[in-house]
Amino acid sequence: MFMQALMAGLSVFICFAGNYLTGQSMLERPLVVGLVTGLLMGDLKTGILMGAALEAVFMGNINIGGVISAEPVTATTLATTFAIISHVDQKAAINLAIPIGMLAAFVVMFLKNVFMNFFAPILDRVAAKNGQKQIVLLHYGTWIFYYVIIASISFLGVLLGSKPVEELVNNIPQNVMNGLSAAGGLLPAVGFAMLMKMLWDNKLAVFYLLGFILTAYLKLPAVAVAAIGLVICVVTAQRDLELMNLPQTTATNKRKLTKQEEEEDFFS
């Protein structure tokens, strides 16, 4: 059992951590995870079939806007492992995958949004000291650290067996999950506040409100908000150029046009 648990952890690490090292190359999708798990467990065929079935289940499942959806890597690994080693029926294993995926998504959310924040002050500190070696170390160190924790969920899951995992999944207090999810939902506010501090200009502050309203009330996608912003920018730039060129009377019209074009091909 220990070896198989280790293999399950390894499978998660290869797929999940590997995915982010290779530019989100989709190693984290059930199709690939099933194959890798099957390969490591010595039952390639079951792995591939589980992967195909779970890919269809998790196809539409991408994390949009802070809502917890299932995490496919841990779900596929554990479901495939249970199907192979505990001879759980494939259909039952697929049904088990969904609650496991939700539990894993919750752990991932907590790690990503809350726990890993402890490393933010460290980055600020080494950045201020130009500690480039530490930056490289931190970059790969947090990567390994984060995915080893996630991989250990599957390690423990296989070690405990499918029954206790099922029970655990059904017994987490709802308000604990809600609290962490609320904290995760509010935390990006700090990131935006830091960016705003750099961009802030009292005369331009009103545009922050405009952007908020366009998205919150009119539900416009980011591209549409940016396009509206572009229009405002071009108008503003034209007016500012006129003001800048006021002293020079002749030849302004020509130059104005070229600058305007530059604005446009930059943002388009």
């Binding site: 982010y20 090292l21 290779t22 530019g23 190359s25 989709m26 999708r29 199709l31 194959l35 591939i48 992967g51 195909a52 802070g66 726990f115 924040n117 490393f119 933010a120 980055l123 950045a127 130009n130 490289v136 931190l138 970059h139 790969y140 947090t142 984060y146 308000n175 809600n178 609290g179 995760g184 509010l186 935390l187 990006p188 506010a189 700090v190 990131g191 935006f192 506040a193 830091m194 960016l195 961009l199 802030w200 200009d201 331009l204 922050y208 952007g211 309203i213 919150a216 980011a222 908000v225 940016a226 509206i228 912003g229 920018c233 730039a237 500012d240 130059r255 600058k259 530059e262 091909d265």
Partner: protein, 275 residues
């Protein structure tokens, strides 16, 4: 490859290093307030070290990029290339306003992801997975392999061209802008666009929803507090929290205190059953 031909040997060497580093841009994790800032810095290190010679200038550039960064993988390399060109200009011209780099970055993240997310996650991945599933359900190894190839070959091309296009456009555009003296206007409109996009991203990314409800005597319906909050102003809590965090930052309150404060606030609200 046409874009790469106009570059000098040193440019090519630098961009090649940036290119390989950029694959790991989303790998590291330093929490929800920085997101992929660390990966961005790591990717940009060859640029920073080439253009800035003193440790003081280098660390100033690194600190500049410790801010929140998140955009769709592959196409985000356009921003990397553009920022590389702007850092170049900043290192040569003492009058360059470094804030324009942050402004350009902040204003491009949203729209870049707006184009990238549906393309990569919606179209490319779904097509590749559809073909992969049909092969894999017959038990063939080719299912997963074909899935990876169908997704990653186009992704690789976008990844490459986004970086070089960003750098080439950035270099020529900023140079022309400098000669015409329009950089002040650029900084202003980029800040304008950046703040607009910050507002939009606050609305779409910062989340709060209360499940509190009050039942009233004589009425069967329960009153949901959230719907009252929404009637007052949609997203009232997210915008208040963001502006509060911003105000505290301006009052020189340490960012970590604000961060842990919000974290504790969220957990307490959840435990009390507010959300």
């Amino acid at each position: 490859m046409k874009i790469a031909r106009n570059l000098s040997k040193a440019d090519k060497k630098m961009l090649r290093s940036v290119f390989w580093r950029s694959w790991t841009l989303n790998a590291s994790r330093t929490g929800a307030t920085q997101y992929h800032a660390l990966g961005f810095i790591y990717t940009l290190l060859p640029v920073i070290n080439r253009y800035y010679k003193t440790p003081k200038d280098q660390s100033a550039a690194i600190v500049r990029h410790t801010t929140w960064f998140n955009a769709t993988m592959h196409i985000n390399n356009f921003i990397v290339g553009l920022v590389a060109a702007m850092e170049h200009q900043n290192s040569e011209d003492p009058n360059f306003d470094p804030n324009s780099i942050t402004a350009v970055k902040a204003s491009l993240m949203g729209p870049i992801s707006g184009i990238g997310d549906p393309f990569f996650w919606g179209i490319l991945r779904v097509i590749a997975a559809g073909i992969g599933i049909s092969l894999a359900s017959t038990g063939s190894v080719m299912g997963a392999i074909l899935f990876l190839l169908l997704y990653n070959v186009p992704a690789f091309l976008v990844h490459y061209y986004a970086l070089y296009t960003g750098y080439a456009i950035g270099a020529s555009f900023i140079k022309r802008l400098y000669q015409s003296g329009g950089i002040k206007i650029l900084t202003k409109v980029a800040s304008l666009l950046g703040l607009l996009m910050m507002g939009s991203m606050t609305a779409s990314t910062v989340k709060f929803k209360t499940i509190l409800q009050v039942s009233v005597n004589g009425s069967k319906e329960v009153m949901k507090i959230q719907s009252y909050l929404d009637q007052l102003f949609i997203g009232l809590v997210p915008i208040t929290i963001t502006l509060l965090a911003f105000w505290l930052l301006r009052k020189k309150v340490n960012v970590n205190i604000i961060m842990f404060g919000i974290m504790i606030l969220g957990i307490v609200l959840g435990l009390c059953g507010v959300c």
